[in-house]
Protein backbone atom coordinates (compact mmCIF):
# COMPACT_ATOMS: atom_id res chain seq x y z
CA UNK A 1 0.00 0.00 0.00
CA UNK A 2 0.93 3.65 -0.32
CA UNK A 3 2.13 5.84 2.52
CA UNK A 4 -0.12 5.75 5.60
CA UNK A 5 -2.37 8.73 6.18
CA UNK A 6 -2.21 8.40 9.95
CA UNK A 7 0.22 6.34 11.93
CA UNK A 8 1.04 5.69 15.56
CA UNK A 9 4.50 4.32 16.39
CA UNK A 10 5.48 2.77 19.73
CA UNK A 11 2.96 4.83 21.66
CA UNK A 12 3.19 4.44 25.44
CA UNK A 13 0.63 5.76 27.91
CA UNK A 14 0.58 5.03 31.58
CA UNK A 15 -2.11 5.94 34.11
CA UNK A 16 -0.56 5.44 37.52
CA UNK A 17 0.20 1.73 37.66
CA UNK A 18 -1.90 0.90 34.63
CA UNK A 19 -0.04 0.50 31.37
CA UNK A 20 -2.81 1.50 28.96
CA UNK A 21 -0.60 1.55 25.87
CA UNK A 22 2.64 -0.42 25.82
CA UNK A 23 4.34 0.50 22.55
CA UNK A 24 1.23 0.45 20.41
CA UNK A 25 1.30 0.82 16.63
CA UNK A 26 -1.57 1.74 14.38
CA UNK A 27 -1.91 2.53 10.71
CA UNK A 28 -4.72 4.05 8.67
CA UNK A 29 -4.56 4.51 4.90
CA UNK A 30 -6.44 7.00 2.80
CA UNK A 31 -9.96 6.08 1.77
CA UNK A 32 -10.39 2.91 3.80
CA UNK A 33 -12.52 1.71 6.67
CA UNK A 34 -10.14 0.27 9.24
CA UNK A 35 -11.55 -1.42 12.31
CA UNK A 36 -9.69 -1.18 15.60
CA UNK A 37 -10.73 -4.06 17.83
CA UNK A 38 -9.66 -5.47 21.14
CA UNK A 39 -11.00 -6.75 24.42
CA UNK A 40 -11.99 -4.40 27.22
CA UNK A 41 -8.86 -2.74 28.55
CA UNK A 42 -6.83 -3.51 25.43
CA UNK A 43 -6.15 0.21 25.02
CA UNK A 44 -8.52 1.07 22.16
CA UNK A 45 -9.97 4.15 23.80
CA UNK A 46 -6.59 5.40 24.96
CA UNK A 47 -5.17 4.97 21.48
CA UNK A 48 -8.10 6.80 19.89
CA UNK A 49 -7.79 9.62 22.42
CA UNK A 50 -4.09 9.89 21.60
CA UNK A 51 -4.74 10.02 17.87
CA UNK A 52 -7.55 12.57 18.20
CA UNK A 53 -5.64 14.94 20.47
CA UNK A 54 -7.58 14.35 23.69
CA UNK A 55 -4.54 13.01 25.57
CA UNK A 56 -0.81 13.20 24.97
CA UNK A 57 1.24 10.01 24.93
CA UNK A 58 4.11 9.52 27.40
CA UNK A 59 6.30 8.49 24.50
CA UNK A 60 6.05 7.42 20.90
CA UNK A 61 5.10 9.21 17.72
CA UNK A 62 1.97 10.16 15.84
CA UNK A 63 2.48 10.82 12.15
CA UNK A 64 0.18 12.42 9.59
CA UNK A 65 1.29 11.94 5.98
CA UNK A 66 4.53 10.50 7.35
CA UNK A 67 5.35 13.67 9.26
CA UNK A 68 5.47 13.65 13.07
CA UNK A 69 2.77 15.79 14.68
CA UNK A 70 1.98 16.75 18.25
CA UNK A 71 -1.66 17.37 19.12
CA UNK A 72 -2.24 19.46 22.23
CA UNK A 73 -6.03 19.45 21.87
CA UNK A 74 -8.85 17.98 19.78
CA UNK A 75 -8.89 21.29 17.90
CA UNK A 76 -5.29 20.59 16.84
CA UNK A 77 -6.34 17.22 15.48
CA UNK A 78 -9.28 18.88 13.75
CA UNK A 79 -6.93 21.26 11.96
CA UNK A 80 -5.37 18.14 10.43
CA UNK A 81 -8.79 17.00 9.24
CA UNK A 82 -9.30 14.47 12.04
CA UNK A 83 -12.69 14.18 13.79
CA UNK A 84 -14.18 11.86 16.36
CA UNK A 85 -17.77 10.72 16.76
CA UNK A 86 -17.93 9.89 20.46
CA UNK A 87 -20.01 7.11 21.87
CA UNK A 88 -22.14 9.66 23.72
CA UNK A 89 -22.42 11.65 20.46
CA UNK A 90 -21.74 14.99 22.21
CA UNK A 91 -24.89 16.64 20.90
CA UNK A 92 -26.90 19.36 22.61
CA UNK A 93 -30.34 17.72 23.01
CA UNK A 94 -32.25 21.00 23.24
CA UNK A 95 -30.84 22.40 20.02
CA UNK A 96 -32.15 21.29 16.64
CA UNK A 97 -30.18 19.23 14.14
CA UNK A 98 -29.15 22.27 12.10
CA UNK A 99 -27.84 24.08 15.20
CA UNK A 100 -25.96 21.00 16.36
CA UNK A 101 -24.42 20.58 12.93
CA UNK A 102 -23.10 24.15 13.04
CA UNK A 103 -22.31 24.37 16.76
CA UNK A 104 -19.05 26.27 17.21
CA UNK A 105 -18.94 27.55 13.62
CA UNK A 106 -22.25 29.26 13.11
CA UNK A 107 -23.15 31.21 10.00
CA UNK A 108 -24.04 34.87 10.58
CA UNK A 109 -26.18 37.34 8.70
CA UNK A 110 -25.94 41.10 8.14
CA UNK A 111 -22.88 42.49 9.79
CA UNK A 112 -21.04 39.35 11.01
CA UNK A 113 -19.44 40.93 14.13
CA UNK A 114 -22.95 41.20 15.57
CA UNK A 115 -23.09 37.40 15.50
CA UNK A 116 -26.73 37.28 14.46
CA UNK A 117 -27.36 33.70 13.41
CA UNK A 118 -28.43 32.94 9.86
CA UNK A 119 -30.74 30.09 10.82
CA UNK A 120 -32.24 29.83 7.34
CA UNK A 121 -28.84 29.25 5.79
CA UNK A 122 -27.80 26.82 8.52
CA UNK A 123 -31.00 24.82 8.01
CA UNK A 124 -30.52 24.82 4.26
CA UNK A 125 -26.97 23.52 4.64
CA UNK A 126 -28.06 20.97 7.21
CA UNK A 127 -30.72 19.59 4.88
CA UNK A 128 -28.10 19.39 2.13
CA UNK A 129 -25.59 17.71 4.44
CA UNK A 130 -28.13 15.10 5.54
CA UNK A 131 -29.23 14.52 1.95
CA UNK A 132 -25.58 13.97 0.97
CA UNK A 133 -25.37 11.21 3.57
CA UNK A 134 -28.73 9.83 2.49
CA UNK A 135 -30.06 10.53 5.97
CA UNK A 136 -33.77 11.14 6.32
CA UNK A 137 -34.66 13.54 9.11
CA UNK A 138 -38.36 14.37 9.41
CA UNK A 139 -37.64 17.84 10.72
CA UNK A 140 -34.28 19.61 11.06
CA UNK A 141 -35.91 22.14 13.40
CA UNK A 142 -36.90 19.53 16.01
CA UNK A 143 -34.71 19.38 19.13
CA UNK A 144 -32.19 16.58 18.74
CA UNK A 145 -33.38 15.13 22.06
CA UNK A 146 -36.70 14.22 20.47
CA UNK A 147 -35.05 12.16 17.70
CA UNK A 148 -34.49 8.41 17.77
CA UNK A 149 -31.10 6.97 18.62
CA UNK A 150 -30.32 6.26 14.98
CA UNK A 151 -31.30 9.72 13.86
CA UNK A 152 -29.14 11.29 16.55
CA UNK A 153 -26.26 9.11 15.44
CA UNK A 154 -26.81 10.39 11.91
CA UNK A 155 -26.65 13.98 13.11
CA UNK A 156 -23.36 13.28 14.90
CA UNK A 157 -21.94 11.55 11.83
CA UNK A 158 -23.08 14.34 9.51
CA UNK A 159 -21.40 16.86 11.79
CA UNK A 160 -18.15 14.90 11.87
CA UNK A 161 -18.21 14.49 8.09
CA UNK A 162 -18.68 18.19 7.56
CA UNK A 163 -15.74 18.98 9.85
CA UNK A 164 -13.44 16.13 8.90
CA UNK A 165 -11.62 16.31 5.64
CA UNK A 166 -9.53 13.17 6.13
CA UNK A 167 -10.24 10.86 9.05
CA UNK A 168 -13.19 10.11 11.30
CA UNK A 169 -12.91 8.01 14.43
CA UNK A 170 -16.12 6.30 15.40
CA UNK A 171 -16.15 4.94 18.92
CA UNK A 172 -18.64 2.06 19.22
CA UNK A 173 -21.13 3.85 16.95
CA UNK A 174 -23.73 1.09 17.05
CA UNK A 175 -23.45 0.08 20.70
CA UNK A 176 -26.75 1.62 21.78
CA UNK A 177 -28.77 0.99 18.65
CA UNK A 178 -31.40 -1.43 17.41
CA UNK A 179 -30.99 -3.64 14.38
CA UNK A 180 -32.51 -1.28 11.81
CA UNK A 181 -30.64 1.73 13.11
CA UNK A 182 -27.42 -0.27 13.17
CA UNK A 183 -27.83 -0.94 9.47
CA UNK A 184 -28.23 2.74 8.86
CA UNK A 185 -25.02 3.58 10.70
CA UNK A 186 -23.02 0.95 8.83
CA UNK A 187 -24.46 2.39 5.66
CA UNK A 188 -23.32 5.85 6.78
CA UNK A 189 -19.81 4.55 7.37
CA UNK A 190 -19.59 3.23 3.81
CA UNK A 191 -20.91 6.48 2.42
CA UNK A 192 -18.33 8.45 4.35
CA UNK A 193 -15.59 6.17 3.02
CA UNK A 194 -16.92 6.58 -0.51
CA UNK A 195 -16.41 10.32 -0.14
CA UNK A 196 -12.72 9.63 0.34
CA UNK A 197 -12.63 10.02 4.10
CA UNK A 198 -10.90 7.34 6.13
CA UNK A 199 -13.05 5.83 8.85
CA UNK A 200 -11.53 4.24 11.94
CA UNK A 201 -14.21 2.05 13.48
CA UNK A 202 -13.86 0.99 17.10
CA UNK A 203 -16.17 -1.92 17.75
CA UNK A 204 -16.82 -5.06 19.74
CA UNK A 205 -19.14 -6.50 17.18
CA UNK A 206 -17.20 -8.94 14.98
CA UNK A 207 -19.83 -9.58 12.25
CA UNK A 208 -20.29 -5.84 11.98
CA UNK A 209 -16.55 -5.28 11.66
CA UNK A 210 -16.22 -7.86 8.92
CA UNK A 211 -19.25 -6.45 7.10
CA UNK A 212 -18.05 -2.89 6.89
CA UNK A 213 -14.26 -2.74 7.32
CA UNK A 214 -11.60 -3.06 4.64
CA UNK A 215 -8.90 -3.88 7.17
CA UNK A 216 -8.82 -4.84 10.83
CA UNK A 217 -6.14 -4.06 13.41
CA UNK A 218 -6.21 -5.86 16.74
CA UNK A 219 -4.96 -4.49 20.06
CA UNK A 220 -4.19 -6.58 23.09
CA UNK A 221 -2.66 -5.43 26.36
CA UNK A 222 -1.66 -2.10 24.89
CA UNK A 223 -0.02 -3.45 21.74
CA UNK A 224 -1.03 -4.24 18.20
CA UNK A 225 -0.97 -7.99 17.89
CA UNK A 226 -2.46 -8.61 14.46
CA UNK A 227 -3.58 -7.05 11.20
CA UNK A 228 -6.07 -8.55 8.77
CA UNK A 229 -7.58 -7.80 5.40
CA UNK A 230 -11.24 -8.06 6.29
CA UNK A 231 -12.21 -10.01 3.20
CA UNK A 232 -9.80 -12.81 4.13
CA UNK A 233 -10.42 -12.86 7.87
CA UNK A 234 -12.83 -14.96 9.92
CA UNK A 235 -14.49 -14.19 13.21
CA UNK A 236 -12.48 -17.02 14.78
CA UNK A 237 -9.22 -15.37 13.73
CA UNK A 238 -10.29 -12.00 15.11
CA UNK A 239 -11.37 -13.46 18.41
CA UNK A 240 -8.19 -15.49 18.56
CA UNK A 241 -6.09 -12.38 18.11
CA UNK A 242 -8.09 -10.47 20.70
CA UNK A 243 -7.76 -13.17 23.35
CA UNK A 244 -4.14 -14.00 22.70
CA UNK A 245 -4.63 -17.39 21.07
CA UNK A 246 -3.25 -15.96 17.85
CA UNK A 247 -0.48 -13.43 17.36
CA UNK A 248 0.68 -12.55 13.87
CA UNK A 249 2.84 -9.59 14.71
CA UNK A 250 5.62 -8.86 17.19
CA UNK A 251 6.30 -5.25 17.84
Amino acid sequence: MSEPLLEARDVVKRYGNVQALDGANFTAYAGEVVALIGDNGAGKSTLVKTLSGVIRPDSGQVLVDGKPVSFSSPLDARSHGIETVYQDLALAPDLDAAANLHLGREIYRWWPPLHVLNKTEMRRRAIAAFADLGVELPDVTAPVGTLSGGQRQSVAVARAVSYASRIIFMDEPTAALGVVQRERVLDNIKKVRDRGITVVLISHNMPEVLAVADRVEVLRLGRRVARFVAADATIEQLVGAMTGALTTEES
Binding site: D88, L91, L117, E136, D139, G150, E183, D187
Partner: protein, 347 residues
Protein backbone atom coordinates in the same frame (compact mmCIF):
# COMPACT_ATOMS: atom_id res chain seq x y z
CA UNK B 1 -29.97 -4.39 2.56
CA UNK B 2 -28.93 -1.07 3.87
CA UNK B 3 -30.54 1.55 1.68
CA UNK B 4 -31.90 4.73 3.14
CA UNK B 5 -35.39 3.25 3.29
CA UNK B 6 -34.22 0.41 5.52
CA UNK B 7 -32.97 2.77 8.17
CA UNK B 8 -36.03 4.89 8.30
CA UNK B 9 -37.83 4.73 11.62
CA UNK B 10 -40.21 7.63 11.37
CA UNK B 11 -42.76 8.44 8.71
CA UNK B 12 -41.01 11.32 7.04
CA UNK B 13 -42.23 14.48 5.50
CA UNK B 14 -39.57 16.23 3.48
CA UNK B 15 -38.21 19.23 5.31
CA UNK B 16 -38.05 21.03 1.98
CA UNK B 17 -41.81 21.21 1.71
CA UNK B 18 -43.44 21.48 5.11
CA UNK B 19 -46.90 20.04 4.67
CA UNK B 20 -49.84 21.54 6.54
CA UNK B 21 -48.04 24.51 8.01
CA UNK B 22 -51.15 25.99 9.61
CA UNK B 23 -52.05 23.09 11.91
CA UNK B 24 -48.40 22.70 12.85
CA UNK B 25 -48.26 26.33 13.89
CA UNK B 26 -51.41 25.86 15.96
CA UNK B 27 -50.02 22.72 17.55
CA UNK B 28 -46.75 24.47 18.36
CA UNK B 29 -48.63 27.41 19.84
CA UNK B 30 -50.64 25.11 22.07
CA UNK B 31 -47.55 23.13 23.02
CA UNK B 32 -45.61 26.28 23.91
CA UNK B 33 -45.38 27.03 27.63
CA UNK B 34 -45.89 30.75 26.95
CA UNK B 35 -49.45 30.14 25.78
CA UNK B 36 -50.33 28.53 29.11
CA UNK B 37 -48.66 31.26 31.16
CA UNK B 38 -50.56 33.84 29.16
CA UNK B 39 -53.76 31.92 29.82
CA UNK B 40 -52.99 31.81 33.54
CA UNK B 41 -52.43 35.58 33.56
CA UNK B 42 -55.77 36.17 31.82
CA UNK B 43 -57.54 33.93 34.33
CA UNK B 44 -55.87 35.69 37.27
CA UNK B 45 -56.90 39.08 35.91
CA UNK B 46 -60.43 37.84 35.27
CA UNK B 47 -60.77 36.48 38.81
CA UNK B 48 -59.46 39.66 40.45
CA UNK B 49 -61.58 41.83 38.13
CA UNK B 50 -64.74 39.95 38.96
CA UNK B 51 -63.92 40.16 42.66
CA UNK B 52 -63.26 43.93 42.62
CA UNK B 53 -64.59 45.34 39.32
CA UNK B 54 -63.68 48.96 39.98
CA UNK B 55 -60.08 48.46 41.11
CA UNK B 56 -58.41 45.82 39.05
CA UNK B 57 -57.68 46.00 35.35
CA UNK B 58 -57.93 49.76 35.09
CA UNK B 59 -55.26 51.49 32.99
CA UNK B 60 -53.62 53.06 36.02
CA UNK B 61 -53.55 49.76 37.82
CA UNK B 62 -52.02 47.94 34.87
CA UNK B 63 -49.29 50.54 34.54
CA UNK B 64 -48.71 50.44 38.29
CA UNK B 65 -48.26 46.69 38.04
CA UNK B 66 -45.84 47.14 35.15
CA UNK B 67 -43.84 49.67 37.20
CA UNK B 68 -43.72 47.28 40.15
CA UNK B 69 -42.58 44.59 37.76
CA UNK B 70 -39.75 46.68 36.23
CA UNK B 71 -36.88 45.74 38.59
CA UNK B 72 -38.10 42.12 38.70
CA UNK B 73 -38.17 42.05 34.93
CA UNK B 74 -34.57 43.26 34.67
CA UNK B 75 -33.38 40.71 37.23
CA UNK B 76 -35.43 38.00 35.51
CA UNK B 77 -33.73 38.70 32.17
CA UNK B 78 -30.35 37.90 33.67
CA UNK B 79 -31.79 34.98 35.63
CA UNK B 80 -33.17 33.54 32.39
CA UNK B 81 -29.70 33.39 30.83
CA UNK B 82 -28.27 31.91 34.02
CA UNK B 83 -30.97 29.25 34.36
CA UNK B 84 -30.66 28.26 30.69
CA UNK B 85 -26.98 27.46 31.38
CA UNK B 86 -28.32 25.09 34.07
CA UNK B 87 -27.18 27.53 36.75
CA UNK B 88 -29.02 29.63 39.31
CA UNK B 89 -28.47 33.10 40.74
CA UNK B 90 -29.76 33.53 44.29
CA UNK B 91 -28.02 36.87 44.76
CA UNK B 92 -30.20 39.06 42.50
CA UNK B 93 -32.15 41.13 45.04
CA UNK B 94 -29.09 41.60 47.25
CA UNK B 95 -26.92 42.76 44.35
CA UNK B 96 -29.74 45.18 43.47
CA UNK B 97 -29.51 46.66 46.97
CA UNK B 98 -25.70 46.76 46.93
CA UNK B 99 -25.65 48.61 43.58
CA UNK B 100 -28.29 51.06 44.83
CA UNK B 101 -26.23 51.63 47.98
CA UNK B 102 -22.98 52.22 46.07
CA UNK B 103 -24.70 54.68 43.70
CA UNK B 104 -26.51 56.28 46.66
CA UNK B 105 -23.23 56.83 48.50
CA UNK B 106 -21.80 58.44 45.41
CA UNK B 107 -24.82 60.77 45.07
CA UNK B 108 -24.75 61.64 48.74
CA UNK B 109 -21.15 62.83 48.56
CA UNK B 110 -21.58 64.48 45.15
CA UNK B 111 -24.37 67.01 45.31
CA UNK B 112 -27.00 64.94 47.10
CA UNK B 113 -30.55 65.83 46.18
CA UNK B 114 -29.41 68.59 43.87
CA UNK B 115 -26.92 66.51 41.89
CA UNK B 116 -26.76 67.31 38.19
CA UNK B 117 -27.35 65.10 35.18
CA UNK B 118 -23.64 64.37 34.75
CA UNK B 119 -23.35 63.12 38.33
CA UNK B 120 -26.47 61.04 37.90
CA UNK B 121 -25.01 59.32 34.84
CA UNK B 122 -21.76 58.60 36.68
CA UNK B 123 -23.79 57.06 39.50
CA UNK B 124 -25.66 54.89 36.99
CA UNK B 125 -22.40 53.71 35.48
CA UNK B 126 -21.02 52.98 38.96
CA UNK B 127 -24.09 50.87 39.77
CA UNK B 128 -23.82 48.97 36.47
CA UNK B 129 -20.08 48.41 36.95
CA UNK B 130 -20.60 47.22 40.54
CA UNK B 131 -23.30 44.78 39.45
CA UNK B 132 -21.34 43.58 36.43
CA UNK B 133 -18.15 43.06 38.43
CA UNK B 134 -20.00 41.32 41.26
CA UNK B 135 -21.71 39.01 38.77
CA UNK B 136 -18.45 38.33 36.95
CA UNK B 137 -16.82 37.26 40.23
CA UNK B 138 -19.70 34.87 40.88
CA UNK B 139 -19.18 33.61 37.32
CA UNK B 140 -15.51 33.00 38.04
CA UNK B 141 -16.49 31.08 41.17
CA UNK B 142 -18.84 28.91 39.10
CA UNK B 143 -16.76 28.46 35.95
CA UNK B 144 -13.20 28.43 37.21
CA UNK B 145 -13.43 27.35 40.84
CA UNK B 146 -16.20 24.86 39.99
CA UNK B 147 -18.28 25.96 42.97
CA UNK B 148 -21.89 24.90 42.29
CA UNK B 149 -23.96 27.95 41.21
CA UNK B 150 -26.29 27.48 44.18
CA UNK B 151 -23.40 27.91 46.61
CA UNK B 152 -21.45 30.50 44.61
CA UNK B 153 -24.44 32.83 44.47
CA UNK B 154 -25.48 32.06 48.05
CA UNK B 155 -21.99 33.17 48.99
CA UNK B 156 -22.50 36.24 46.77
CA UNK B 157 -25.84 36.91 48.45
CA UNK B 158 -24.18 36.99 51.84
CA UNK B 159 -21.32 39.19 50.67
CA UNK B 160 -23.67 41.66 48.92
CA UNK B 161 -25.91 41.89 51.96
CA UNK B 162 -22.94 42.34 54.30
CA UNK B 163 -21.36 45.01 52.09
CA UNK B 164 -24.62 46.96 51.87
CA UNK B 165 -24.98 46.99 55.65
CA UNK B 166 -21.31 47.83 56.16
CA UNK B 167 -21.33 50.73 53.70
CA UNK B 168 -24.49 52.29 55.11
CA UNK B 169 -24.07 51.28 58.74
CA UNK B 170 -27.50 49.68 58.46
CA UNK B 171 -29.34 52.93 57.74
CA UNK B 172 -31.03 53.55 54.43
CA UNK B 173 -29.65 56.41 52.34
CA UNK B 174 -32.45 58.76 51.39
CA UNK B 175 -30.58 61.59 49.69
CA UNK B 176 -31.33 60.73 46.10
CA UNK B 177 -30.96 63.29 43.29
CA UNK B 178 -34.33 64.90 42.57
CA UNK B 179 -33.65 64.79 38.85
CA UNK B 180 -33.19 61.01 39.06
CA UNK B 181 -36.47 60.59 40.95
CA UNK B 182 -38.46 62.84 38.65
CA UNK B 183 -37.04 61.24 35.48
CA UNK B 184 -36.48 57.50 35.82
CA UNK B 185 -38.33 57.15 39.10
CA UNK B 186 -41.68 58.74 38.41
CA UNK B 187 -41.33 60.43 35.04
CA UNK B 188 -42.74 59.28 31.78
CA UNK B 189 -42.14 59.65 28.07
CA UNK B 190 -45.12 59.94 25.71
CA UNK B 191 -47.38 58.91 28.57
CA UNK B 192 -45.41 55.78 29.43
CA UNK B 193 -43.36 55.62 32.63
CA UNK B 194 -39.60 55.39 32.14
CA UNK B 195 -39.54 52.34 34.42
CA UNK B 196 -41.76 50.54 31.94
CA UNK B 197 -39.88 51.77 28.88
CA UNK B 198 -36.47 50.78 30.26
CA UNK B 199 -37.51 47.35 31.51
CA UNK B 200 -39.56 46.46 28.41
CA UNK B 201 -36.84 47.63 26.00
CA UNK B 202 -34.24 45.62 27.93
CA UNK B 203 -36.49 42.57 27.74
CA UNK B 204 -36.87 43.02 24.00
CA UNK B 205 -33.16 43.59 23.44
CA UNK B 206 -32.01 40.59 25.47
CA UNK B 207 -34.86 38.49 24.11
CA UNK B 208 -33.49 39.10 20.62
CA UNK B 209 -29.95 38.37 21.80
CA UNK B 210 -31.10 35.11 23.40
CA UNK B 211 -33.09 33.94 20.39
CA UNK B 212 -31.04 35.11 17.44
CA UNK B 213 -27.36 35.55 18.29
CA UNK B 214 -24.34 33.42 18.97
CA UNK B 215 -24.38 34.52 22.62
CA UNK B 216 -27.87 33.07 23.02
CA UNK B 217 -27.03 29.93 21.05
CA UNK B 218 -23.99 29.20 23.24
CA UNK B 219 -26.09 29.81 26.34
CA UNK B 220 -28.52 27.10 25.25
CA UNK B 221 -25.73 24.79 24.11
CA UNK B 222 -23.83 25.03 27.39
CA UNK B 223 -26.97 24.38 29.42
CA UNK B 224 -27.98 21.54 27.17
CA UNK B 225 -24.66 19.70 27.14
CA UNK B 226 -21.52 21.48 28.36
CA UNK B 227 -19.33 18.61 27.17
CA UNK B 228 -20.67 18.99 23.61
CA UNK B 229 -20.03 22.73 23.73
CA UNK B 230 -16.49 22.14 24.96
CA UNK B 231 -15.73 19.60 22.25
CA UNK B 232 -16.71 21.91 19.42
CA UNK B 233 -14.34 24.53 20.79
CA UNK B 234 -16.71 26.86 22.66
CA UNK B 235 -15.00 28.62 25.56
CA UNK B 236 -17.51 27.41 28.14
CA UNK B 237 -15.86 29.02 31.19
CA UNK B 238 -15.64 32.45 29.60
CA UNK B 239 -19.23 32.26 28.41
CA UNK B 240 -20.45 31.37 31.91
CA UNK B 241 -18.54 34.32 33.38
CA UNK B 242 -20.20 36.60 30.84
CA UNK B 243 -23.67 35.24 31.65
CA UNK B 244 -23.24 35.77 35.41
CA UNK B 245 -21.76 39.22 34.74
CA UNK B 246 -24.84 40.05 32.65
CA UNK B 247 -27.10 38.97 35.50
CA UNK B 248 -25.16 41.22 37.88
CA UNK B 249 -25.22 44.13 35.43
CA UNK B 250 -29.01 43.90 35.09
CA UNK B 251 -29.36 43.71 38.87
CA UNK B 252 -27.32 46.91 38.96
CA UNK B 253 -29.69 48.57 36.51
CA UNK B 254 -32.60 47.32 38.61
CA UNK B 255 -30.84 48.88 41.61
CA UNK B 256 -30.88 52.29 39.94
CA UNK B 257 -34.54 51.93 39.01
CA UNK B 258 -35.34 50.89 42.56
CA UNK B 259 -33.38 53.82 44.00
CA UNK B 260 -35.13 56.25 41.68
CA UNK B 261 -38.60 54.83 42.31
CA UNK B 262 -38.47 54.61 46.10
CA UNK B 263 -35.94 57.47 46.53
CA UNK B 264 -34.18 55.39 49.16
CA UNK B 265 -31.88 52.35 49.16
CA UNK B 266 -34.47 49.93 50.65
CA UNK B 267 -31.71 47.81 52.22
CA UNK B 268 -34.04 45.34 53.89
CA UNK B 269 -36.71 45.47 51.20
CA UNK B 270 -35.55 42.67 48.88
CA UNK B 271 -35.01 39.48 50.85
CA UNK B 272 -37.32 37.44 48.61
CA UNK B 273 -36.65 38.99 45.21
CA UNK B 274 -34.77 35.84 44.27
CA UNK B 275 -37.87 33.74 45.03
CA UNK B 276 -40.01 36.01 42.85
CA UNK B 277 -37.49 36.17 40.01
CA UNK B 278 -36.65 32.46 39.91
CA UNK B 279 -40.36 31.60 40.08
CA UNK B 280 -41.08 33.98 37.20
CA UNK B 281 -38.38 32.46 35.03
CA UNK B 282 -39.37 28.87 35.80
CA UNK B 283 -43.08 29.57 35.23
CA UNK B 284 -42.02 31.12 31.94
CA UNK B 285 -40.78 27.72 30.82
CA UNK B 286 -37.06 27.81 31.56
CA UNK B 287 -35.77 24.49 32.82
CA UNK B 288 -33.56 24.29 35.89
CA UNK B 289 -31.80 21.44 34.06
CA UNK B 290 -30.70 23.94 31.44
CA UNK B 291 -30.99 24.26 27.70
CA UNK B 292 -34.53 25.53 27.69
CA UNK B 293 -36.32 28.84 28.24
CA UNK B 294 -37.47 31.94 26.37
CA UNK B 295 -37.56 35.66 27.12
CA UNK B 296 -41.26 35.87 26.18
CA UNK B 297 -41.98 33.19 28.78
CA UNK B 298 -39.98 35.09 31.41
CA UNK B 299 -41.72 38.35 30.50
CA UNK B 300 -45.14 36.75 31.04
CA UNK B 301 -43.88 34.79 34.05
CA UNK B 302 -42.82 37.93 35.92
CA UNK B 303 -46.40 39.19 35.94
CA UNK B 304 -47.74 36.12 37.75
CA UNK B 305 -46.16 36.93 41.15
CA UNK B 306 -46.62 40.68 40.56
CA UNK B 307 -50.34 40.39 39.76
CA UNK B 308 -50.70 37.90 42.58
CA UNK B 309 -49.32 40.46 45.03
CA UNK B 310 -51.61 43.21 43.72
CA UNK B 311 -54.59 40.90 43.65
CA UNK B 312 -54.09 39.84 47.26
CA UNK B 313 -53.98 43.47 48.38
CA UNK B 314 -57.20 44.21 46.51
CA UNK B 315 -58.90 41.00 47.65
CA UNK B 316 -58.20 41.89 50.56
CA UNK B 317 -56.01 39.16 51.95
CA UNK B 318 -52.84 39.14 54.00
CA UNK B 319 -50.13 40.22 51.57
CA UNK B 320 -47.63 37.73 53.02
CA UNK B 321 -49.82 35.06 51.51
CA UNK B 322 -48.14 35.97 48.21
CA UNK B 323 -44.82 34.42 49.30
CA UNK B 324 -46.54 31.22 50.35
CA UNK B 325 -48.39 31.06 47.06
CA UNK B 326 -45.29 31.99 45.05
CA UNK B 327 -43.35 29.24 46.78
CA UNK B 328 -46.06 26.71 45.95
CA UNK B 329 -46.23 27.91 42.34
CA UNK B 330 -42.43 27.55 42.04
CA UNK B 331 -42.60 23.98 43.32
CA UNK B 332 -45.44 23.13 40.98
CA UNK B 333 -43.67 24.65 37.97
CA UNK B 334 -40.49 22.68 38.62
CA UNK B 335 -42.50 19.49 39.16
CA UNK B 336 -44.29 20.02 35.84
CA UNK B 337 -40.95 20.59 34.13
CA UNK B 338 -39.72 17.24 35.49
CA UNK B 339 -42.75 15.46 34.09
CA UNK B 340 -42.47 17.25 30.76
CA UNK B 341 -38.83 16.26 30.54
CA UNK B 342 -39.57 12.62 31.26
CA UNK B 343 -42.32 12.52 28.66
CA UNK B 344 -40.49 14.28 25.88
CA UNK B 345 -36.88 13.30 26.24
CA UNK B 346 -35.30 10.06 25.23
CA UNK B 347 -31.91 11.15 26.48
Amino acid sequence: MAGPAAGQEAPHTSSRAPVARGPRLLRRTLAAGETWVFGALIIMMAVFTVKEPGKFLTISDLSLNAQTAAPFLLMAIGETFVIITAGIDLSVGFVLVLCGVVAGEYYQSNGGANAGVGTIWVGVLIALATGGAFGALQGVAVAKLKIPPLIATLMGLGIAEGLSELITGGHDLSTVPNTLISSIGTGSFAGVQWLIIISFLATLLFGLILAFTRFGEYTYAIGSNPEAALRVGINVDWHLIKVYALAGLLSGLAGILNLAYFSTTTISGHPLDNLTVITAVVIGGASLFGGRGTMLGTFLGVFIPVLLATGLIIWPANQYLQYILTGIVLGAAVYLDQIRRRLRERF
